[in-house]
Amino acid sequence: MKKLIEIRNLSAGYEDNVVLENVNLDVFSGDFIGVIGPNGGGKTTLIKTILGLIKPICGELILHISKTNIGYLPQVNQIDKRFPISVFDVVRSGKSDSALFSSFHRNTAEKEKAESLLEEMGIISIRNKAIGELSGGQMQRVFLCRALMNNPELLVLDEPSTYVDNNFEGELYMKLKELNEQMAILLISHDVGTISFFVKTIACVNRNLHYHPSNIITEEQLTSYNCPLQIITHGNIPHTVLKLHDEHERHEHTH
């Protein structure tokens, strides 16, 4: 197993507002880490720091791979959906390390790569559509294609299941499981119930980071650092235990 990223005693945030404090995390090749935690807990700050978009306040971030070897799928609401750009160009932008002087190259390999990714995701038919004409699921597929353009060693996804239907959500996670055979994955989600069936390990982020070297978390672990989330266990049949708002009520079982 190759170590891809080391985070040591890292604090990060915006201006005077520290969002993450004293975080430690190692990411190895083959990892599939689900990053969970409450809104505002620092999940997005964590990956933006890893991507170099936010400078750490203190601590260390060591990348053993180049920055362009990290594929990134941002939150959809970060994207201007009315921007005049076609699906094909969005996907090609994933290979933007070659963009600088690309106007006079033929970029055949780049175009073929983009086409084969669109084909693989089943959205080659919408390649000439504008980004604003797509459904939520289609848009996530396009951004996944873009993130994969560089054949990354690490794929970072920020809430890829927002604005998509349940059908696509399942499809997406199956796809990620498949991709995990070739690359490490860091997946942010608020939907602990679903991702726990797919991820291998879990990092719970709420100002601090607690790493669980399995995809099973117990209620004690969650409540011990204020992760007011759903609770997941694995039985013969995967099931989720929803914690009720009232502490004294019985736990409700759902599938």
């Binding site: 991507l51 933007s96 504008a130």
Partner: protein, 267 residues
């Protein structure tokens, strides 16, 4: 038809024609970037801040457009600096530069002894009095813009669409942001003579909005915008000449009519 040929025998009309063509090229391309990236308000701030330079130009007895250029570039940088480093909210930062520039301009025009000639032409434009020297500058700018946007088309497109993602791909985002800000400033300043400070935002937004009805592709939007800007400028120029009404305002009126027609046809 004869009357058109006759018009083109006048130097001032040929100059006006060339000015509208060159304005269409620079404003069409740069405006597409401005509209796509939603920085119309920043552009408005730069435009009005440049009035400070015009006032100082009058006062110091240099070409007001040189003063306007310096003020435009400084305010463009200043807006970015205020909001990124100075922790001022961006729209507030724009408003500060916008009004500061206007205030400086008004004070220096007032302090300039005697009457400030052509002041109205900077405020409202005067395409029929564009000089040959200004035309050469506009030509140089048009060529620089065409080359820059052709050569760095994908870089500009990717940075505009998703700046964070472009950063993760290690594109020189900050450098391009500043270069493009300088190009916006120069475009605004050199086109002030065509439609004036008060109205120049229209050249940077209405043809683009019209083009955007027909296409949702960045490159095509630039080409269509240049086309619409040119058609409107030429028709507006003719109407203003024959009806003897102000050219800048007529050009903008024509742009809006074309926008309405295209919208109606596509509806």
């Amino acid at each position: 038809m004869n009357i058109l040929i006759e018009l083109f025998s006048y130097d001032f009309f040929v100059n006006a024609f060339l000015a509208s063509m060159l304005a269409a090229i620079s404003c069409g391309i740069v405006g597409t970037y401005i509209v796509s990236r939603r920085i119309v308000f920043i552009s408005g701030g730069i435009t009005h801040a440049s009035f400070g330079g015009i006032g100082m130009g009058y006062y110091m007895g240099i070409n007001p457009l040189i003063g306007a250029g310096i003020f435009a570039i400084l305010s463009g940088m200043g807006i970015q600096l205020f909001s990124s480093k100075g922790k001022v909210r961006e729209d507030s930062s724009i408003a500060i530069w916008w009004s500061l520039g206007m205030a400086i301009g008004i004070i220096f025009v007032y302090l300039t002894p005697g009457y400030a000639p052509n002041l109205m032409s900077y405020l409202f434009g005067s395409i029929l009095t564009v000089s040959a020297g200004e035309l050469w500058l506009m030509l140089a700018l048009a060529i620089i813009i065409i080359l820059f946007f052709t050569f760095f088309y994908r870089t500009i497109l990717y940075i505009s669409f998703d700046e964070d993602f472009a950063r993760t791909s290690e594109l020189p985002v900050n450098l391009f942001n500043y270069l493009l800000m300088i190009l916006i400033s120069l475009t605004i300043v050199l086109n002030i003579r065509v439609v004036g400070i008060i109205l120049i935002l229209s050249l940077l937004t209405i043809p683009q909005a019209t083009a955007n009805i027909l296409t949702r592709e960045f490159g095509r939007m630039m080409v269509y915008s240049v086309g619409f800007a040119f058609i409107a400028a030429f028709i507006g120029l003719l109407i203003s000449y024959f009806a003897d009404i102000p050219s800048g305002a007529t050009i903008i009126f024509t742009q809006v009519i074309i926008f309405g027609l295209v919208k109606l046809i596509k509806y």
